[in-house]
C-alpha cells in the first residue's frame, strides 16, 4: 500500500456534468500512469449523480472503479483494470 501513488481529486460542491468533465480531465492527464498500475485516482464527491456517470464513462476507457461512502460523501477509486 505504501508504494502506491494516490492522487486525490476533491470535487465536492461540483455537480454533473462538471464532476465527470473534471474527472476525465484528470484521467486524461494521468491515464498513462494509472494504466501502468502504480497510480490511482480517488475522487471525492458529494454529488450522488456522479456515482452513475463517472464509473460508466471510466469503465469504457478501460479502467476499474469501486465506490465507497464515507461520512456523507462518496469516494470513487479509479485504478487500472486487473
Amino acid at each position: 500500500m505504501t508504494d502506491k501513488n494516490v492522487i486525490q481529486l476533491d470535487i465536492r460542491g461540483q455537480i454533473c456534468p462538471s464532476c465527470l468533465l473534471l474527472t476525465l480531465k484528470e484521467l486524461n492527464a494521468r491515464g498513462e500512469a494509472v494504466r501502468r498500475g502504480g497510480t490511482e485516482i480517488v475522487v471525492l464527491t458529494d454529488d450522488r449523480q456522479a456515482l452513475g456517470t463517472i464509473p460508466g464513462a471510466v469503465d469504457k476507457m478501460g479502467y476499474q472503479t469501486d465506490v465507497s461512502r464515507e461520512d456523507g460523501l462518496y469516494r470513487i477509486r479509479i485504478c487500472h483494470q486487473k
Binding site: I15, C16, P17, S18, L20, L21, L24, K25, L27, N28, G31, Q49, G52, T53, G56, A57, K60, M61, G62
Partner: protein, 751 residues
C-alpha cells in the same frame, strides 16, 4: 475588412451559433459518455471555452477507442483459443443456429459429418446441404426432445448429446462421441458370453481369492451341480480327496510362477462319483499386474480314461488269467531292481513251469488247458503277499517276484508251497488232472543284477529241475549256465537228428525162464551224434518230450520197430511181440492211436505183436484219456505194460480201469536183490500183485544168476537184462536168436 453594425451583428450571431454548436456537440459527446447534458446556468459561455469539454471528451474518447481495440484483440484471441480447444477435442462439436445453419463446428465434425470441409467454410452453411446425414439426426432429436441418442454411420457408431446455449437463444450445441470401439467391445463381450455359455468344456471364473464368480453349463453338467450351488464357493468344493496336499501345492506354485497350469485332475461330482478331468488354469492380471481372476477350463476325460486304462490293462495283462503279462512284469522287475539296488535289499524271482501241461493241452484241448491255467494262476496268487507280483509270461510259464526277502531260504519255502499247491490235482469238468510244476529260483543280486539275467538264469534253474525229474525247485548257480548251454545245443542237435532220422533201434530180448528162451523183444532207441558219440536216452528223451520232438521221434520208433518185427516174423523168428516205449506227449497226442493202427495195417501185423510200455506218471496225467486211447488199441490186440512199476504212486483202483497186461519191475528194485530185504519184498510184492490182477510181471535189469533165482523163487517168470543179452543191433539180435537157447539157471538154486 469591413466593420460596422452589420458586421458586429454578424459576428455576434456567429459567436452565438458557435457556442450553440459547441454546447450541442458537448452534449452529444456527454450523452455518448453516458452522462447528462451541460446546463447553461451551470456553465457560462466563457467557462465553457475555458474548460474545453470537447477537448476533454475527445481525449477520453481516444482512451475509449484504445480500450475497445485492446478488448477486440483479446476477444479474437479468445475465439481462436476456443476453436483450437474445440478442434483438439476427441468429440465432434456442431453449434446450430435457429435456422439450422452452422454457427460453429470443429475439425472432427467436419471430418466425420461434413465431407472434410474446412470449419471456416462450413460456418454459415445450412447443415442439411453440408452434412452426410442431411441433418436428420439433429432434426429428429429436436423434434422428439431427445437429450441424447446413438446412431451408426458408415460402419461407425456415435453417441450424440444435445444442449442449449443459455447465453445465446436459438443456438443448439451438438456433441458427438465415437463409440465404435465400445460397441465392438460390447459385441465381443456378447460373443464371449455366448462362448462361455455354449462351449462343451467346463469353465470356471474365480476372483483372486478363488471364490467362484461364474461357472458355465458344461461345468455344472460335468460335476452335476447347479450354478448357484457353486457361485461363492471355492474349487475345494469339488475336490475328490484323491490328490494329496503336495499335488495342489505344486499346482499353485506353478500358477504363481507361470500364470498357468495344465494337468489331469480328479474331482468329485455332486453324487460322489469321481470324474477325471483335463484342466487348464490361467491367472488373469489387471493393468497393475496383480492377479484379478483365475480362469479354469476343464474337459471330462472319463471316456478317454476308460479307453486308456482298458488299453493299458490289455497291454499289460494276460487276458486269460488276469495276471500281469511279460511286459508289465519286466516293468516291475526293473523297478524292483532299482529299489533293491538303492536300499540294498534282496528279492527273488521264481520261474514256474507247469509239468505235463502241454500233454493236457494237446490231448484234451485248449479249453481244458485254459481252465488249468486259470486255476493255477489263482493258486499262485493266493500264495503270495499282495505286494508280490505273480505274472504269466506265456504258455504254461509263470513267474513270482518276491520282494524284501530275508534270505534265500524264504524263496525256497515259497517254492515248496508253490510245488505243493500245484501238485493238488486240478478239477476240470469233473476230471482230476495231475499237473505239478518245476521252479527255478534266482536271487538278486547274487544271480544277476539286471532283469534279463535274473529271468534267463531262473529259466535255466527251472530247466535243471526238469532234467532232475520235475516237481521240484532249483536255485540258480553259475555252473548252471553252462549246463543250460549244453542243453540248448542238445535241443538243436536233436531237432536236426529228428529231421535226418539219425537214430537207431537196439533190441533186447525178453526171456521166458520157463521156456528157457527169448519170447519177445524190447526196442530201445539209440542216438549217436556225429563227432560226439552216443547220447544216453535219459539225457535226450526229456528234451525231446519238452520240445515235442518226441511225437515225430516216437512215430519213427513205432514204424521202424513194427517193420523190423514183421520182417523177422516173415523170416521165421518165433517172437510173441515187440515192445516199444511211449511217453505222455505221444499218448495224449490226438492222432496217437490212429497213427499206430495205420502202421500196423500198413505192415499187415496183428496188434497182439505190439506192446506199448508206459510209465505210471503217463497214466496218472489223465486216466480217462489213457483209458480211451488204450481201449482203442486193445481192440486191435495191442498189449500194454507199465514201465518202471513201483517208482510212481499209481493207485490200484486207477490201474484196474485200464487194459493192462504187464507190470515191468524197475531195475532199481532188481539191482540189490537178493541182498536187500526191502527190495526183495518189493519185487516179490509186485510179482504177487501181478498174479492177483491176472497180469504178467517182467523184471528188468537182471544181471546175475542170484537175481534170476530169487525172482524165479517168488514166482517171476519173465526177465530182461545183461544176464541174457544187452540191447543189440538188429543184426546182432538175429545172431542171438539164431543161437536159439538162452543160458537159464536151474529153477532150483544149486548153492
Amino acid at each position: 475588412m469591413h466593420t460596422g453594425p452589420a458586421a458586429t451583428v454578424d459576428i455576434a450571431h456567429r459567436h452565438h451559433e458557435a457556442i450553440r454548436y459547441i454546447r450541442a456537440k458537448v452534449d452529444q459527446l456527454l450523452a455518448l459518455m453516458g452522462t447528462l447534458p451541460l446546463r447553461a446556468e451551470e456553465l457560462d459561455d466563457d467557462t465553457l471555452i475555458e474548460l474545453d469539454p470537447i477537448g476533454i471528451v475527445a481525449d477520453s474518447f481516444a482512451q475509449v477507442l484504445a480500450n475497445l481495440g485492446a478488448t477486440n484483440r483479446e476477444l479474437l484471441v479468445a475465439r481462436d483459443e476456443i476453436r483450437t480447444i474445440l478442434d483438439a477435442m476427441g468429440a465432434a462439436v456442431v453449434v446450430l443456429n435457429a435456422d439450422f445453419t452452422i454457427d460453429e463446428c470443429n475439425r472432427l465434425a467436419c471430418e466425420w459429418f461434413l465431407h472434410g470441409t474446412e470449419p471456416a467454410t462450413a460456418r454459415g452453411q445450412p447443415l442439411a446441404s453440408t452434412c452426410v446425414c442431411g441433418a436428420g439426426i439433429e432434426r429428429g432429436m429436436l423434434a422428439h426432445g431427445q437429450r441424447d441418442t446413438d446412431f451408426a454411420l458408415d460402419g461407425r457408431h456415435f453417441h450424440a448429446v444435445r444442449s442449449e446455449l443459455p447465453g445465446a437463444p436459438g443456438k443448439t450445441v451438438f456433441l458427438y462421441f465415437d463409440i465404435t470401439r465400445q460397441k465392438q467391445s460390447e459385441a465381443q463381450l456378447r460373443l464371449y458370453a455366448q462362448v462361455f455359455r455354449n462351449t462343451a468344456e467346463g469353465l470356471v471364473i474365480t476372483d483372486a481369492e478363488q471364490r467362484i464368480l461364474e461357472v458355465n453349463d458344461a461345468f455344472c453338467r460335468i460335476l452335476g451341480y447347479r450354478p448357484e450351488e457353486l457361485r461363492g464357493q471355492t474349487p475345494r468344493k469339488v475336490r475328490s480327496g484323491l490328490h494329496d496336499d503336495a499335488f495342489y501345492a505344486d499346482m499353485w506354485r506353478q500358477i504363481r510362477e507361470t500364470d498357468h497350469w495344465q494337468g489331469e485332475i480328479i474331482d468329485r461330482a455332486r453324487d460322489g462319483r469321481t470324474v477325471p478331468l483335463l484342466e487348464t488354469i490361467s491367472a488373469v492380471r489387471d493393468a497393475d499386474g496383480a492377479v484379478s481372476h483365475y480362469i479354469s477350463l476343464v474337459s471330462d476325460i472319463s471316456h478317454l480314461k476308460e479307453t486308456q486304462s482298458r488299453l493299458d490293462y490289455l497291454a499289460h495283462h494276460d487276458l486269460l488269467t488276469g495276471l500281469p503279462n511279460r511286459l508289465l512284469f519286466n516293468d516291475r522287475l526293473e523297478h524292483v531292481i532299482e529299489r533293491a539296488a538303492r536300499d540294498r535289499t534282496l528279492f527273488a524271482v521264481l520261474y514256474i513251469d507247469l509239468d505235463r501241461f502241454k500233454t493236457i493241452n494237446d490231448s484234451l484241448g485248449h479249453h481244458i488247458g485254459d481252465q488249468v491255467l486259470i486255476q493255477a494262476a489263482l493258486r499262485l496268487r493266493q500264495l503270495v503277499r499282495r505286494s508280490d507280483t505273480v505274472a504269466r509270461l506265456g504258455g504254461d510259464e509263470f513267474v513270482l517276484l518276491l520282494e524284501d526277502l530275508a534270505g534265500v531260504e524264504e524263496a525256497a519255502q515259497l517254492a515248496d508251497k508253490v510245488i505243493d499247491a500245484l501238485r493238488v490235482p486240478f478239477t476240470v469238468n469233473d476230471v482230476a488232472l495231475h499237473v505239478g510244476c518245476s521252479v527255478g529260483i534266482t536271487v538278486y543280486p547274487e544271480d544277476g543284477r539286471d532283469a534279463v539275467s535274473l529271468l534267463k538264469n531262473a529259466d535255466a534253474a527251472m530247466y535243471k529241475v526238469k532234467e532232475l525229474g520235475r516237481d521240484g525247485y532249483f536255485k540258480y548257480s553259475e555252473d548252471l549256465s553252462s549246463a543250460v548251454l549244453a542243453k540248448l545245443n542238445l535241443e538243436n542237435a536233436l531237432r536236426v537228428a529228428v529231421n535226418r532220422q539219425q537214430f537207431a533201434l537196439h533190441y533186447q530180448p525178453i526171456v521166458d525162464l520157463d521156456r528157457g528162451r527169448a519170447v519177445a523183444v524190447e526196442a530201445l532207441i539209440r542216438w549217436s551224434v556225429p563227432d560226439q558219440g552216443a547220447v544216453a536216452p535219459e539225457q535226450f528223451i526229456p528234451v525231446a518230450e519238452e520240445t515235442r520232438l518226441i511225437v515225430p521221434l516216437g512215430r519213427w520208433v513205432a514204424r521202424t520197430a513194427i517193420e523190423q518185427f514183421r520182417q523177422w516174423q516173415q523170416a521165421g523168428m518165433a517172437l510173441d511181440y515187440v515192445s516199444i516205449n511211449v511217453s505222455a506227449a505221444q499218448v495224449f497226442h490226438r492222432d496217437f492211436a490212429a497213427d499206430l493202427i495205420a502202421v500196423l495195417d500198413d505192415c499187415r501185423l496183428d496188434g497182439r505183436h505190439l506192446q506199448l510200455e508206459l510209465t505210471e506218471q503217463v497214466l496218472m496225467y489223465d486216466i480217462k484219456v489213457c483209458q480211451r486211447v488204450l481201449l482203442q488199441l486193445r481192440a486191435r490186440g495191442v498189449r500194454v505194460a507199465i514201465d518202471d512199476f513201483g517208482t510212481g504212486y499209481s493207485s490200484l483202483a486207477y490201474l484196474k480201469q485200464l487194459p493192462i497186461d504187464k507190470l515191468k519191475i524197475d531195475r532199481s528194485f532188481v539191482r540189490d536183490i537178493p541182498g536187500d530185504p526191502n527190495d526183495c519184498a518189493i519185487a516179490a510184492a509186485v510179482i504177487g500183485l501181478a498174479r492177483t490182477l491176472d497180469l504178467e510181471a517182467v523184471a528188468e535189469g537182471v544181471e546175475t544168476v542170484d537175481q534170476e533165482r530169487f525172482l524165479r523163487a517168488v514166482g517171476g517168470r519173465m526177465v530182461q537184462g545183461y544176464r541174457y543179452a544187452p540191447p543189440l543191433e538188429a543184426s546182432a539180435f538175429v545172431e542171438f536168436m539164431a543161437a536159439r537157447s538162452v543160458g537159464v539157471a536151474d529153477s532150483h538154486p544149486s548153492r
